[in-house]
Amino acid sequence: MTVASNPSPRTQFAETRLVRKKHRSELIAKCFFGVMAAAMVIPLILIVVHVVKQGMPSLSWEFLTTNPRLGGIRGGIWSAIVGTLYIVTISLCVSAPIGVLSAVYLNEYAKENWFTRIVHLAVVNLAGVPSIVHGLFGLGAFVYAAGMGKSILSASLTLSIMTLPVIIASTKEALASVPVSFREACWNVGATRWQTIRRIVLPNSISGILTGVILQVSRTAGETAPVMLTGVATFKAVEGTGLFLYNPFTDQSMALSMHLYYIATQANNAPPSLPYAIATVLLSVVLLVNASAIGLRAYLRSRKKW
């Protein structure tokens, strides 16, 4: 009976005990990793809910738009918001162009040699320096040596140096995601490096570059230690509620991160909901900025051209 001894296709595809075991371990692995991934979300939700709930009593439109009074324990946080805005804007206006341009140089022009290796080493190590050390550096370099004094400018420049290596790294990554074959095709038809960068490389990496820069907004807004040493005051009484509250070259300012730190740790008579209200605002800024970065990336991805 030769026919019977041949395994029929049906038995080959049937679910044997071994196959069931495989299915089971597959399922267990999937659930385990899924739970771990979900666990990531829980702390975020808990933090947001806790902070917002505790801060609710102090939160109002007025809280956002009036200046702090009585050493910061009364009134709103408008001048701190403006201070943060100044610092973030100035520091990114400095670090974004420098960072992006040096990344373009490193990725598109530089040949592998001792100079570029030193630059790479510097970038990596600079990214690992703790922010308080950046603060001390800023204090020595900008506040004293360069004679800028404690000012918005000093604080911003300190943050620029802190964000620079991260911007360089993210920009390089974005540039490297454009296939080399595109560049070679351009060089083959007699295009210069610059023509290739301008027409092909930059248009196709701009989404990654911008996302990397935008993510530094939330980082700059959240830092306390570097700005505390270089130009942000615990409390500063200012008049008016416009956008032009400070002269960035000479004035110290308030900032959200510093204000939160001060109210939460040093001020005695502040209402208990106040630090949480400030934290809510800071958190909203961070989440909003991150969301816009994600949105921008998704939008530009959808227009991806290859």
Partner: protein, 274 residues
Amino acid sequence: MLTFVRGKNGDDTELISNLDPMRETKKIEIENLRLAYGGKEVIHGISFDVRANEIFGIIGPAQSGKTSLLRCINRTIEFTAGAKVQGMIKVDGQDVSRMKNVYELRRQVGMVAPLPVGLPLSIYDNVAFAPRAAGMRNKHHLDALVEKCLRQAALWDEVTDRLDSLGTRLSGGQQQRLTIARALSHQPEILCLDEFSIAIDPVTTMRIEDVLKELRKEMTIILVTNLVQQARRLADRTMFLWNGEIIELDSNEVMFSDNPRNRKTYEYVNGIFG
């Protein structure tokens, strides 16, 4: 035509006749070319000429240095860190290593890579890229040039009504013809094709081969190919390169006959190489 040529003794000059019909004009002259990547030599001093308006086939197994050779000719080898070129390459009698305007050299030597590359631009812009990079701005001239190149590459009929759509969205075979159109867009005198049929179907390959037969009237073509029969069909002369050395360079009648000058050629051509 009479030419003065330096004699064997070095200082006396001889008169020789250049009227010999067998002496065709040399488009590319390569003398004792050596190439090393980071100290490892991969082309070991080869010399040969490519004549004007011929189809010059280059065959040889993987790693024999065919692609590297082409990259030496248009000097894109300079983009590879650690690559060192020695010896002489002349295009139209001019030493390429001395050329100040390397971009003009690359426009004179069109290059088609093995894998099709549609740039992430519209089909029109893909073809207009090179002329624009060379400074051409006139819309009418560009339109005419784009149409001419797409026609030459046998792609025009398929894309006339969607010149604005992305080049990267074309099929592989269409992208390869787009690549050829782009290589033609800077009006080269020499066209190098590096295993152009590696990623496309036989029908498209045949269409492109017909295109090449047309193009040879206007330009010199260097055809690097893994398909021995393709070189046999198209080339006038074929060079067999192996491990960075020329095994044989002959007219196709000799190369693909039953007794080429080198035994290895016969074995490679007939697939018994090993």
